[in-house]
């Protein structure tokens, strides 16, 4: 179905190559959108995937033009010779392309051309599809929701003015936090900036049909369920819940405060013993399909001219700017990272030179920082980026007598959550294990005993209909967990002139030791963070949402910024 729509689009050759590239990326990923659900499980999303399962084998093909001369004379004549030789090899295809393009142009003239959403052709380092982008302006490491959002916002604002390259080591997104998340969006935070980020996230999600539309491909549909979040609090947490509620109302979130009698009237299936009150989001809260958001952002970024490379950044090299004067510390040499070495899946290594680096690699940002020297060095460099992967489980259960359509994403006082999934009586549930019982992050295997010991008793107590549930499937994913204060880190590293960190947004855990974390909150902030990084790069500061408090300096100064939990 996608194939025919692409060949009939035939607008401009450039767009065609971009679209065919998109198609290749999409096909390999649409087939993988099962998100760990077993093949026997038929959620209504996966019904569409079945048609394209046959193309799963088609990996993202990347073949870059290869030249390795160092001597300038050889370089000059060798490049010319390579150019002539490669043209000679592709001459048949070149002439075929011209004739098909002429033919399809004639067809397109017969019917009116579709309206172009953007004013001019996508540009960038557009010398052809298989030339390695050895120089770019912005290098985004990590192509998940954060990285794609940064790439999209940068290209949307800068168009041809900045060349953006995104390096993603896992184009099927098998280990990324984005696609393995539950996809909730809520305004119920206790830090005002988080509330603002989510409100912008919701506004962005609402406008996706216009913003992320790519000519010739289907409009991304993120399947937003507006059922809201319901955060419950016991007697001890009542005060904190009330305070958070006041702040949320101040910031403009549309939430209601419900006492336990009101709760039991509203949700008859809910057992309100032990619950003093709850806050329900009436508007702009719910859950959506993070996969569609990711693919929508990625496709739009590619169509605007961003380059996606399948590879892993293995090392950095840079220089010390010894003519720059840094005031305030004894260490007076700012470093600048100039080159990243990328290892392609075939094993060969290539380098990219860039002006600005955006570290959006999620759970592996700490490791990326260590490659740049953050965490291994004297002085300021001795503090690593405190983001590491933590494994979390999500279980899909089948309960035909469950809460049904009228149920929000419920967060129990002890941190367990569940939400409805689809229309067939399936529910997703999960809980973060306490600090001392963190599972091993080497693999993504699921521990079923965790469900039986910790989650089932809680949700069965909260919703009596869940006593008769059956575990359908489960998957595991990584949180990009900020061990310092479980809030995101965004901003420049003080010692590097071009290392921007944008990671660590999953979690939002409380401060109490042995406490539990609230469900994955990172995906909802992806649009807001993308826009904030874009403002940092292009305007030199935050214009819309001021995220200065989330900078890396708080890690250096040891001043944590905690979300307050509700017990």
């Amino acid at each position: 179905m996608l194939r025919t729509s692409i060949s009939s689009c035939g607008v401009l050759g450039r767009l065609k190559t971009n679209v065919s590239k998109l198609y290749m990326l999409c096909s390999s990923q649409v087939a993988n959108s099962r998100r760990g659900l077993s093949l026997s499980c038929q959620t209504y999303e996966s019904k569409k995937d079945d048609e394209d399962l046959g193309t799963e084998k088609e990996k993202v093909e990347q073949k870059f033009r290869k030249y390795e001369y160092s001597n300038p004379y050889e370089r000059a004549f060798g490049i010319l010779k390579d150019d002539v030789v490669s043209f000679y090899k592709k001459r048949k295809k070149f002439f075929e392309d011209i004739t098909t393009r002429a033919r399809s142009n004639a067809e397109a003239k017969a019917k009116p051309a579709p309206k172009n959403t953007y004013g001019f052709e996508p540009s960038g380092a557009d010398v052809g599809e298989n030339v390695w982008p050895s120089f770019c302006d912005v290098l985004v490491v990590g192509g998940g929701a954060m990285g794609s959002s940064v790439a999209y916002h940068l290209k949307e604002k800068a168009r041809g003015g900045l060349s953006v390259v995104v390096v993603e080591e896992d184009p099927g997104y098998k280990k990324a936090s984005t696609v393995l998340s539950v996809g909730g969006i809520r305004q119920q935070f206790s830090i005002p900036e988080n509330i603002q980020l989510s409100m912008y996230g919701m506004e962005f999600l609402r406008n996706i049909p216009e913003l992320l539309e790519v000519e010739g491909l289907d409009t991304p549909d993120i399947q937003f369920n507006p059922n809201g979040y319901l955060t419950l609090a016991s007697e001890e947490g009542y005060e904190q819940l009330r305070q958070n509620y006041e702040l949320q109302i101040d910031m403009g979130a549309k939430v209601s405060f419900l006492t336990n009698t009101e709760l039991s009237k509203m949700y008859p299936w809910l057992n309100v013993s032990g619950v003093a009150a709850g806050v329900l989001g009436r508007e702009n809260e719910g859950w959506f399909d993070p996969w569609s958001l990711l693919i929508g952002l990625q496709r739009k970024a590619i169509s605007l001219g961003a380059h996606y490379i399948n590879g892993k950044v293995t090392s950095f090299s840079g220089e010390t700017m010894d003519d720059m004067i840094l005031e305030g510390t004894q260490q007076s040499n700012i470093k600048r990272i100039t080159t990243a070495e990328v290892t392609l899946p075939s094993g060969e290594t290539r380098t990219i030179n860039f002006a600005i680096l955006v570290a959006a690699s999620g759970a592996w940002t700490g490791e990326l920082g260590r490659m740049a020297g953050i965490g291994e060095g004297p002085g300021i460099l001795s503090v690593p980026i405190p983001i590491e992967p933590r494994k979390r489980y999500v279980y899909c259960v089948h309960a035909p007598d469950g809460p049904g359509l009228h149920s929000p994403l419920l967060v129990d006082p002890n941190g367990t959550y569940f939400r409805r999934e689809g229309l067939g009586g399936l529910y997703l549930c999960g809980q973060s294990p306490p600090e001392d019982k963190e599972p091993n992050v080497d693999n993504l295997d699921v521990d079923h005993s965790f469900f039986e010991d910790n989650i089932w008793p809680t949700i069965a107590q909260r919703v009596p209909a869940f006593e008769k549930l059956k575990l359908h499937s489960s998957w595991a994913g990584y949180y990009d967990y900020n061990t310092f204060d479980q809030n995101g880190i965004i901003g420049l590293h003080p010692l590097f002139s071009n290392f921007l960190i944008a990671s660590g947004f999953s979690g939002h855990a409380p401060t109490l030791p042995g406490g539990v974390t609230q469900p994955l909150a990172g995906i909802q902030q992806a649009p807001g963070i993308g826009r904030a990084v874009m403002e940092c790069i292009m305007y030199g500061g935050y214009e819309t949402i001021n995220l200065e408090r989330f900078g890396f300096e708080r890690v250096l100064a040891k001043v944590p910024l905690f979300e307050s939990n509700i017990v």
Partner: protein
């Protein structure tokens, strides 16, 4: 003339020592500038090479620019990116340029004119950065080659017709039929592409942007002037024919100049903006040459020299920013007054020279050219006024966008620039603003 060319050839032996070559080139420019009190229309002649008023200033300009190239390209020396080949390529280029400007024979001029393309191509492809430089080099090579082959044919026909190709013995041709028109076009187009004129300017933004700093400086500084110089030499033969065509070139020059200066306001790449502004300046030069009056020729020579120094200096500045930030885009290179405060002086001085403010050579050249074009046709005041206005507009745009504002990394630091960079910019600016006092050096 050989007293300059032979030491230059000998300088190639010293390509392994950067400092020796640098000092040698400055010394060579000193030797040439000693002739500044020349009173003859032809001097330093011998072996069919000679200097007159215009070739003298062009040779001085080219040696000066090449020595400034060596100061600005320190990165090649520091990273040891084949610095000896770099120096020999540059000296080769300088040799061919000197031969071009001092040749007294049309054929010798043509051969060295074409030969100067090859070291430029090697500079762009060999030491350039981006993958797009392949396309840029091809554009430059083929644009110039395709249009200059008819020039060879026309020179040979001239030889067969008049018996000599010596420039000073140029016999003005008389004839009005279409064959003469065709002859005239094929001769003049070669230089119009090099100049570049508006319709044939596509190679210039590509080549200037993708070239390394050395390539950009030599292209903007000297190679564009080859077109103007060649036109002045060749129009001696075609004076009568030129009168029937000059309206076309002047109109294209003015209209094209206005259009390109509007394009300048849209650029996001610093080097691209400076490259397009070169086209605007050269279109005004074209108008002056084609009108072929005394003030027209004098004004165009002055503007050529002024533009060579100014654009070359601006490319140096853009390169300094690129070396520190890694990007040429104006979208991340903002607030440079906070990032490199001392360079703000040079940005300002060279920007105002670019928009023809006193006391720069550009001012004198533009005034003379404005008067020339105006005296030729009063209606051109519309185009000329727009040209001057937008010239100031895009220069202000470039200065304000790059210098004012907030630098994205305005955390706690600033950078001041190295002494060698200051020296190179000072040596760009000093002749630009001091030579207006003794501009008889440049005029007929």
């Amino acid at each position: 003339m050989l007293k300059f060319i032979l030491p230059l050839i000998l300088l190639m032996k010293f390509n392994k020592e950067w400092k020796v070559s640098q000092v040698g080139l400055f010394f060579l420019s000193f030797l040439i500038s000693v002739n500044c009190y020349h009173n003859f229309f032809l001097f330093n002649s011998g072996f069919s090479l000679g200097m007159d008023y215009i070739s003298y200033i062009m040779i001085l300009l080219s040696v000066w620019i090449v020595s400034l190239i060596l100061i600005s390209s320190q990165k090649i020396k520091n990273l040891n990116n084949f610095s000896s080949s770099f120096i020999s390529t540059n000296i080769f280029l300088l040799l061919f340029l000197m031969l071009t400007f001092s040749s007294m024979d049309y054929l010798m001029f043509y051969i060295s004119f074409e030969a100067s393309l090859i070291p430029t191509l090697i500079l762009i492809l060999g030491w350039g950065y981006q993958p797009e430089r392949i396309q840029a080099g091809i554009y430059m090579l083929f644009y110039t080659l395709a249009f200059s082959l008819p020039l060879l044919v026309s020179l040979l026909i001239y030889y067969f017709l008049t018996g000599s190709l010596v420039i000073s013995l140029g016999v003005p041709l008389e004839g009005e039929n279409y064959l003469y028109k065709f002859w005239y076009m094929s001769t003049v187009l070669a230089f119009l592409v090099k100049l570049p004129m508006f319709m044939f300017h596509l190679w210039l933004p590509k080549a200037h942007v993708e070239a390394p700093i050395a390539g950009s400086m030599i292209l903007a500084g000297v190679l564009l002037k080859l077109g103007g110089y060649g036109l002045i030499r060749v129009l001696i033969m075609f004076q009568e024919m030129n009168k029937s065509f000059c309206w076309f070139w002047v109109s294209l020059g003015i209209v094209g100049g206005v259009y390109i200066s509007l394009m300048c306001m849209r650029q996001v790449d610093m080097k691209s903006l400076i490259a397009y502004s070169s086209v605007v300046h050269m279109s005004l030069v074209l108008c002056g040459i084609m009108i072929f009056s005394l003030w027209g020729l004098a004004g165009s020579v002055i503007l050529m020299v002024g533009h060579g120094l100014c654009s070359s200096g601006l490319f140096c500045l853009a390169n300094m920013v690129y070396e520190r930030t890694g990007s040429r885009s104006l979208m991340v290179n903002k607030g440079l007054l906070a990032f490199m405060p001392s360079m703000g002086l040079w940005w300002f001085l060279l920007s105002v020279s670019n928009m023809a403010s006193p006391p720069s050579l550009n001012l004198m050249g533009e005034i003379m050219l404005i008067l020339t074009v105006l005296s030729w046709s009063k209606i051109s005041i519309l185009g000329i006024s727009l040209l001057s206005f937008f010239s100031a507009a895009y220069t202000l745009y470039m200065y304000s966008l790059s210098q004012h504002g907030i630098f994205y990394n305005s955390l706690y630091s600033c950078c001041s620039g190295k002494v060698s960079e200051y020296l190179s910019l000072f040596l760009h600016w000093l002749p630009l603003n001091a030579m207006i006092m003794n501009s008889t050096l440049l005029m007929i």
